[in-house]
């Protein structure tokens, strides 16, 4: 921009374009200072962190959605089972009530007894099915651990970005009261602990990649190779 500004000034004369020239010169100075201090690299890194944060948020959104679907589907499957258990029991109970008030013919009673026995035989199976769905709902809550880890990592990234940007800002402020105040604010906010422990990465957001093991089967075959 500074180059263009100078050309414009040269063509159109010095008056109102004096301001434009001065802005151009200041911009150039700022960029050169940043380059000298290595701060342009920091800003670049901050900018690069944004897509990473977006990917992580995407992961969190899709994990929570999947978990919700899983739980709701399990409820959909279990509900009819519970309804059936309830309605059949009620109907049989009513029939027995009627029979007690007005004992009936043996043949009809036999039918009621058969139906009741049929119901008792069916209940354990239906209860087991419902239990399975309850287990499924419980397992669906595992998203919370995975999304929690990703969110923690994201907060660390954001903290780092914030620090870098504050650093840039700090350097641009001339020595003096304002700078000292900023420095104090930064220090009290706490610097990000840049813990790049290579083995602690959290859940893999993108399952592609040669060194990533995306499911238990892959884990198992690798363990087999290692003799486990």
């Amino acid at each position: 921009m500074s180059g263009e500004a100078r050309q414009v000034a040269a063509h159109e004369g010095a008056h109102g374009d004096d301001l434009v020239v001065r802005i151009g010169q200041l911009t150039r100075m700022l960029r050169e200072s940043m380059r000298e201090l290595g701060l342009d690299k920091e800003v670049e890194k901050a900018a690069e962190a944004i897509p990473d944060a977006r990917a992580r948020l995407n992961y969190v959104a899709s994990m929570t959605e999947q978990a919700a679907d899983r739980a709701l589907n399990a409820v959909d499957r279990a509900q009819p089972l519970q309804n059936e258990i309830e309605s059949r029991a009620e109907s049989l109970d009513q029939q027995w009530q009627t029979w007690f008030e007005n004992p009936m013919e043996l043949d009809q009673a036999r039918q009621l007894v058969t139906d009741t026995r049929g119901y008792l035989a069916a209940v354990p199976e239906m209860a087991r099915e419902t239990s399975k769905e309850l287990l499924e709902i419980m397992m669906a809550q595992d998203f919370q651990d995975l999304t929690g880890q990703v969110i923690k990592k994201m907060m660390a990234v954001i903290l780092e970005v914030e620090n870098q940007l504050l650093q840039v800002l700090l350097e641009s402020v001339p020595d003096g009261e304002e700078r000292d105040a900023m420095k104090r604010r930064m220090e009290s906010a706490g610097g990000a602990t840049r813990q790049e422990a290579g083995l602690v990465n959290g859940p893999q957001i993108n399952a592609e990649g040669e060194d990533i093991v995306s499911n238990q089967d892959q884990v198992d075959s690798l363990l087999d190779e290692l003799g486990f």
């Binding site: 397992m139 602690v200 990465n201 093991v213």
Partner: protein
């Protein structure tokens, strides 16, 4: 195999500890205690009488791998079976865990069936 065996579940997320505890209960293991990081876990292991550890990797204060290494380095605890249950899913993770002496490795998200299978595999190998 004694279903009354005391098991320590280590994970910094309470939800995950709860899920693992429920699954162990389904499988008949009701003698379960919890720790929220490697540091707390080592404390409990040293003073308690645990026979099995199910642990996450990514935890504050002391992570699962470091905890495992310290367990294997301790005279009294070195034979303690440790099953890793973690979201860390790079090959180098599995290799590191195996080399540090983990008895098994489950990657999150996992199913109840997987947990049961891996537990049984470990018990088999230990002759329990």
């Amino acid at each position: 195999m004694d279903k009354g065996m005391s098991i320590l579940v280590v994970d910094d997320f309470p939800t995950m500890r709860r899920i693992v505890r429920s699954l162990l209960k389904e499988l008949g293991f009701t003698n379960v205690e919890e720790a929220e990081d490697g540091q707390e876990a080592l404390g409990k292991l040293k003073s308690g009488d645990f026979e099995f550890v199910v642990s996450d990797w990514n935890m504050p204060n002391l992570d699962g791998l470091e905890m495992l290494k310290q367990i294997r380095a301790d005279e009294a605890m070195k034979a303690l079976p440790v099953l890793m249950v973690t979201a860390e899913a790079k090959k180098e993770n599995i290799v590191a865990a195996a080399q540090a002496g983990a008895n098994g490795y489950i990657v999150k998200p996992f199913t109840a069936a997987t947990l049961e299978e891996k537990l049984n595999k470990i018990f088999e190998k230990l002759g329990k």
